[in-house]
Symmetry: C2
Subunit: 397 residues, 2 copies
DNA sequence: AAAATTTGTAAGTCGCTTTAACAAATACGC
DNA sequence: GCGTATTTGTTAAAGCGACTTACAAATTTT
């Protein structure tokens, strides 16, 4: 049961978060602006602003004159106010970003890893992160924690993790938390990418949206009623194994015609392999394949129908403000999807404009890692942050 | 933006709701029990309980002795504390219930209506309801309002309302609110049914679940993160036009293979008509058709695959605690669905047991109306009730 | 230069939860 | 059977943060 009583102290934390978010979304703002936007009184805003200032999370700009009345002091987030780590773990690869409070990437590393050895991978990651921090790029006392995202689903025999073999039931979160001695949040990669666009990208301010993440596999990140959605086990948004072609390709899950067998790097590699071209990673794919290739066109022709159905069912079930398309795929390929998928079939969102319904994600291939970092901010500042986004069943490594 | 600041008075309303809900879900409870369950202090609980008592919403039971210590006073909801009206408007028919605070149906009426005449229908409904109230079955001052549910989607040209022709853009809510002079909440029928099971039925206490509502058409009601989901326009959960057979039946929406063309009364009637049997309403269907009929079996054989896909995609996208199957369909037919659909295909919910994943709704065919009534309770008591469940685009009648 | 407007602060009030202390009523131990 | 432990629920006072009211300060408008 999520029914939690409240009291004055909790209320204050809520208001602190409200002021913080208001500045983030609409800043720079004066204290009076904030009072108007939040319905808090001016004295209350002043006091909360003082507190945020004391924490170093916001900063004052130069006095702004021009209008009638006393000049106002614009307030904005202080990028240096807090730092978080974001880790995107994927097949054979880990991306780590160190971000500031406004999503600026202060440091970035990508490691090639043998992810089939889980223990070794975890040790390497922990060691590398410690090294990264020792280089002293940031004030260590301002490091709030780390977010970790990886392909889901979590804890489902026969289904997971379909894109990261052998990682089912590995207590990634606990292991890293213990080793790095900082809070670690865990979610799937789609949720990470959604979080990034939600806080720092084009999905700012949305109450309801869906991020479709295309990478090795395909997944989504969900925001409903202004909150991230994890579902009962942290596995919500798992669109990969939704059937779009009942008589279609056989899937590793045992069903036929799952979306992932049409739209994913894996499905592309399969198509290439069936035609005698052996490619085995995203890097190789990017290096060897381009927009005009016949094999790409063939694969795309087969993939666009299923993707259209996927978009359609997301619209009908979530009736979101918008759907964002992004992920690990090369940019030109996402662009092709965007172009070929139009016109969108009729749905509950048909009263919105085509441009509104489906949009390109703005952040690049690091989105998932950046969003992971953002998870750690939300977890430590938002008193109502939903833990349930995290995956549940974890066992000892 | 849903970022709303809080203060002590709002906090009190939250806590009042928390205490109310705690009693509803776990009652009968002593004041001390409530304090333990909510983390509120004992004096706070006492004060909030006094307030709820003053409102007449709860009542004390007989002193409960037996354990160590002073005997406790069990508290429970007072059924007579508040009444609400629930209206389920559907093709050719309106069901109205007058319910008490614990979902007990104090009065029920079903009217056959010519719903193709919207103005007339609205007038009739308003008149009948006024008459119903005049009969003086309840203390009028304790009537909190009305909930209205009807088939969606709302405000989508070419798609809605697929099961209630001519009602698109009709300002039902405003019209009834003005005529009856009480607050009226509006949502789709799936949401109504979900609400009924959530508050009074087998879905009590869930944070995440989906109700699949099968009637003239097919829809769902969604609860995510402990809140109803409406989406941007109040149209979330519109599963009817999700494509499950890309090469399948043509649908009135212009697409092919929509779920509704396989599982809905409408699809059954179509199948019968193609085979020379003309039926035109749910009543007729119930009267003329039974479990063993060949035509039913044929239709069922074709319907069960699509339904299985529908359940599968709901599981994968929402990862709910459970899915409930119910609606306007005759009970024996829902039972057949429940039996034939097993085993459920693999999904993110496969780690749950089959019995947990899909369950029969407990409330009968009045569920949608009862849930509509429950909407009015939540709207007036829960300070964080999500208005967005309501349909948005409404125009004057 | 006076008036109007707007920003932001200071002082005190208000509402609600909390802590601390305690009275009342029961079961339990001897 | 009586004192003790336990639990319930209330009373009184403290604490906390938002609110209202009043006002000083800095600018534009007239």
């Amino acid at each position: 049961m999520s029914l939690r009583a409240t009291n004055v102290s909790h209320g204050k934390l809520v208001n602190l978060w409200v002021v913080f978010e208001t500045i983030r979304l609409h800043g720079p703002l004066s204290r009076s602006d904030i009072a108007r936007l939040t319905t808090l009184s001016k004295p209350s805003v002043s006091s909360l602003v003082d507190e945020l200032d004391g924490l170093g999370l916001i900063r004052e700009g130069a006095l702004r004159t021009g209008g009638v009345g006393k000049p106002s002091t614009p307030l904005d987030l202080n990028p240096e106010g807090a730092f978080t780590l974001g880790l995107h773990l994927d097949y054979g690869r880990a991306t780590v970003v160190l971000t500031d409070l406004i999503g600026g990437v202060r440091h970035r590393e990508v490691w090639a890893l043998d992810t089939s050895d889980q223990l070794r991978t975890l040790r390497t990651i922990a060691r590398q992160i410690k090294g990264l921090l020792k280089k002293g790029k940031i004030d260590r006392s301002r490091l709030m924690g780390m977010g970790l995202v990886m392909p889901g689903p979590f804890g489902v025999a026969g289904l997971s993790p379909t894109r990261l073999p052998g990682w089912d039931g590995v207590a990634v979160r606990a292991a890293l938390e213990a080793d790095l001695r900082m809070p670690v949040m865990l979610a799937n990669d789609g949720t990470g990418a959604a979080m990034a666009e939600w806080r720092f990208g084009v999905a700012k301010g949305h109450e309801n949206f869906v991020y479709v993440f295309i990478g090795n596999g395909i997944g989504t990140g969900l925001v409903v009623n202004g909150r991230l959605v994890g579902g009962e086990d942290g596995n919500a948004g798992e669109i990969a194994h939704v059937v779009v072609r009942p008589e279609g390709h056989e899937c590793i899950c045992g069903k036929h015609g799952c979306l992932e067998t049409y739209i994913s790097l894996d499905s592309a590699l399969h198509h290439f392999r069936r035609n005698g071209v052996i490619l085995s990673s995203m890097e190789e794919f990017e290096r060897c394949v381009g927009p005009g290739d016949t094999l790409v066109e063939e694969w795309l022709a087969e993939a666009i129908g299923p993707l259209r159905l996927g978009i359609n069912l997301i619209e009908n079930l979530f009736n979101p403000e918008a759907i964002y398309l992004g992920g690990d795929f090369p940019s030109w390929l996402l662009d092709l999807f965007m172009a070929r998928i139009l016109p969108l079939p009729i749905s509950v969102n048909s009263s919105h404009s085509q441009q509104t319904r489906l949009r390109r994600a703005a952040l690049g291939q690091d989105a998932a890692a950046i969003g992971a970092a953002a998870l750690a901010v939300a977890a430590s500042l938002n008193p109502d942050y939903l833990q349930r986004v995290q995956a549940r069943p974890e066992y000892e490594v």
